[in-house]
């Protein structure tokens, strides 16, 4: 066990993947000598060489598009997109090819790859560096969308993603890249894709969230619990598509109340799908309408206001109050 930050755990998982599978190739902008703008690939080119950790030209369609060919040709590409706001030049390749190559060739060719993307805001980054647009990927059949909320899951989920036979969009919450450390085993291990985790059990309200928001929810929750003498169950969804219906429904059926918290803008954020499904599936147990706390329905602003765009602790608390006081 080593104490690691989330970004170190990502680095460790990438090292493990490169070491244990010859087919793994990392490609992206500045991931070589520079070790990535967040240092997620630090030291990997020095160790595994320029053939396996590749600085590409500055072209996201090229990165994703060649990854399709690399994967179809038997490699296991792990492209890095520098920030989520810069994935769009590669969007056509993702929705028309990455997500569909299996179907388009009736499984003769497949495009298993892990597209790593730092996402989310609140690091005082410049414009367009703080997007949370997981909806675009979760809405696209054929893709798997994963995001860890802590170093342990980061390594385990990333190693799962590398082993997956399907393409995975791996969203890395920049806000908590370095904000805390956790014991992470040195040996390889797997956190399964498709299974949510109850990070804190409770009987009165279920709060479903993911990525960097998990920590915020835990903090905000602690205050509500203290004030109101209630118990909140917090679920870290971990896989956003396909998400773990069993865990979510079981929890809400137990608590009768659900709040969903995410950084993405509220309108058509993943919370919409969760709320729609919970409202349908848990209707007989629900004691209050499902409440969503999301990013404001406006573009992520320049950084001075970004913390107010994302759900604040106060807004999270108000969401919980709302379902309790219905």
């Amino acid at each position: 066990m080593t104490e690691m930050t989330l970004v170190q755990a990502v680095n460790d998982a990438l090292r493990t993947a490169l070491q244990s599978d010859d087919r793994v190739i990392l490609l992206g902008e500045d991931i070589g000598k520079n070790g990535g703008v967040f240092r997620a690939t630090e030291g990997l080119q020095a160790r595994f060489g320029e053939q396996r950790v590749v600085d590409t030209p500055l072209a996201e369609a090229g990165i994703i598009g060649t990854s399709v060919g690399l994967a179809a040709g038997g490699m296991k590409p792990i492209p890095e997109i520098q920030f989520m706001g810069f994935i769009y030049p590669g969007f056509e390749q993702i929705v028309s090819h990455v997500a569909r190559l299996r179907m388009r060739s009736r499984s003769r060719f497949t495009a298993p790859m892990v597209i790593r993307v730092p996402y989310g805001g609140r690091i005082r980054a410049p414009e367009l560096h703080s997007e949370s647009t997981e909806t675009f990927f979760a809405h696209t059949p054929g893709l798997t969308v994963v995001t860890p909320s802590n170093p342990y899951d980061a390594k385990g989920l990333l190693l799962s993603a590398v082993q997956s036979d399907d393409p995975v969009i791996f969203l890395e919450p920049m806000h908590i890249y370095r904000s805390f450390r956790q014991s992470v085993p040195e040996e390889p291990y797997i956190v399964p894709i498709g299974s949510a985790q109850i990070v804190k059990p409770g009987r009165d309200v279920t709060v479903i969230t993911w990525g960097a928001m998990v920590r915020d929810v835990l903090d905000a929750t602690a205050k509500v619990e203290a004030t109101r003498g209630i118990e909140v169950e917090v679920i870290d969804l971990r896989t956003l598509a396909p998400w773990d219906e069993e865990t979510v429904f079981a929890s809400v059926n137990k608590t009768g109340r659900a709040v969903i918290v995410h950084e993405a803008v509220l309108n058509l954020g993943l919370g919409a799908e969760l709320a729609a499904r919970i409202s349908e599936e848990c209707v007989l147990q629900l004691e209050a309408p499902v409440t969503r706390v999301g990013g404001l329905n406006v573009p992520v602003p320049l950084f001075q206001l970004e913390d107010l765009h994302a759900p604040t602790h106060a807004r999270i608390q108000r969401g919980i109050d709302k379902v309790l006081d219905f």
Partner: protein, 377 residues
């Protein structure tokens, strides 16, 4: 077609080693590579004949498919008549392990490289079986979004290179595709990483209705190669031998680690963009007629006659075989029952996720319900 296509290049390529082929074809002037007049010494007789046979088959397949569409037996179809030399002679320059990376119009190249003809028919008939590519056939699914296949070809070539397999990717695209960002990025990646890929542009002068002069301010597509530090070649796309040589040479270079080549083949589609298109809206009929004067299939047949490799008896026999081949493929397509609706759920993920398993079960129930009620839409 699968069985009928010996991979001549598997033998030919090896004999080419050492020849500095780049010089021969590196030229940008229009029609700088003259149409073949002398019997080519560097192309075996059997190969010449095979090129002709496949081109003739393709011509007839294409005409038949248009009629099938008109009769409602298949869906929208993009004819290639006029481009046969581009697709056949290029692909016959490949080795079996090389990849064909096609667009919607390159089913000719796909078939030459081993895609069963009936699958092509099924595909244009909107059937999932049409998307099946046999395991040993190195053909990528045809790309519908313009230019998106070009980075795939670069990636396939990259994978081969990294894994030490001598496999070259031959990517097809149109003149219009040269305007898309994906063309640019693919060319650049291929050049920077010196990938074994051949970019083969069938410049048929139009992107649907838009003429080349509106697509680019350059005279040629080939000269765009310079922007990437890539060899650019411009060839008469109606001349099967010129096409064959250009691709053969490019494959040799790629296979030797000398990087990508951009080939521009001048050609013309005689017919509409697809069966939904009306070309009289945007170009004079006389244009197609003047291109027919150097028709690729006719030209090669006459050449073969001149070389005494072909005669009317052989032609009659060939036409018989063509007819039967197409008839057999069509029969295979039409022998299929209705498409199994459950195919909808196949090949979306490696393993059906539980939400789709439930959706599939529900779908099945609804389906049988509807079939009972007989009120399916």
């Amino acid at each position: 077609m699968h069985d009928e296509s010996p991979h001549f290049a598997d033998a030919v390529i090896t004999t080419q080693t050492g020849v500095d082929t780049a010089k021969e074809t590196q030229s940008l002037g229009p029609f700088d590579i003259p149409a073949t007049i002398e019997k080519p010494e560097d192309v075996q007789d059997e190969l010449l004949i095979e090129i002709y046979r496949q081109m003739a088959l393709l011509r007839e397949f294409d005409r038949r498919s248009v009629r099938l569409q008109r009769a409602g037996r298949i869906g929208t179809y993009p004819p290639l008549e006029g481009q046969e030399a581009c697709q056949v002679a290029s692909t016959l320059a490949l080795r079996k392990a090389d990849y064909v990376v096609p667009t919607y119009r390159d089913y000719g190249a796909m078939m030459v490289h081993g895609m069963p003809m009936e699958h092509i028919l099924m595909y244009w008939n909107g059937r999932p079986e049409g998307a099946v590519i046999p395991q040993d056939v190195h053909v990528f699914p045809l790309a519908v979004p313009i230019a998106t296949q070009l980075p795939h070809a670069a990636g396939l070539a990259w994978a081969a290179k990294l894994q030490g397999r001598d496999e070259v990717s031959l990517a097809f695209f149109g003149d219009g595709a040269s305007s898309e960002g994906d063309f640019h990025e693919a060319m650049n990646f291929a050049a920077v990483f010196k990938l074994p890929v051949v970019f083969f542009c069938q410049n048929n002068q139009y992107a649907i209705s838009v003429p080349l002069s509106r697509q680019t301010a350059t005279e040629t597509i080939a000269e765009k190669a310079a922007a990437y530090g890539v060899t650019g070649v411009r060839i008469p796309g109606w001349d099967a031998v010129a096409v064959y040589r250009a691709v053969r040479d490019a494959v040799v270079r790629a296979s030797r680690g000398e990087g990508p080549t951009l080939i521009e083949a001048l050609t013309y589609r005689y017919g509409p963009h697809t069966t939904s298109d009306d070309p009289t809206k945007y170009r004079p009929l006389s244009e197609a007629e003047s291109w027919r004067e150097r028709d690729p299939v006719e030209t090669l047949r006459q050449d073969l006659n001149r070389y005494r490799l072909w005669d009317d008896a052989k032609e009659a026999e060939l036409q018989e075989w063509i007819h039967e081949t197409i008839q057999a493929a069509l029969a295979k397509m039409e022998s299929l029952g209705p498409v199994n609706p459950l195919e909808l759920f196949d090949h979306v993920y490696a393993k059906l996720p539980s939400h789709l398993e439930r959706a599939k079960a529900e779908f099945l129930t609804e389906l049988s319900h509807e079939q009972t009620k007989g009120d399916a839409q």
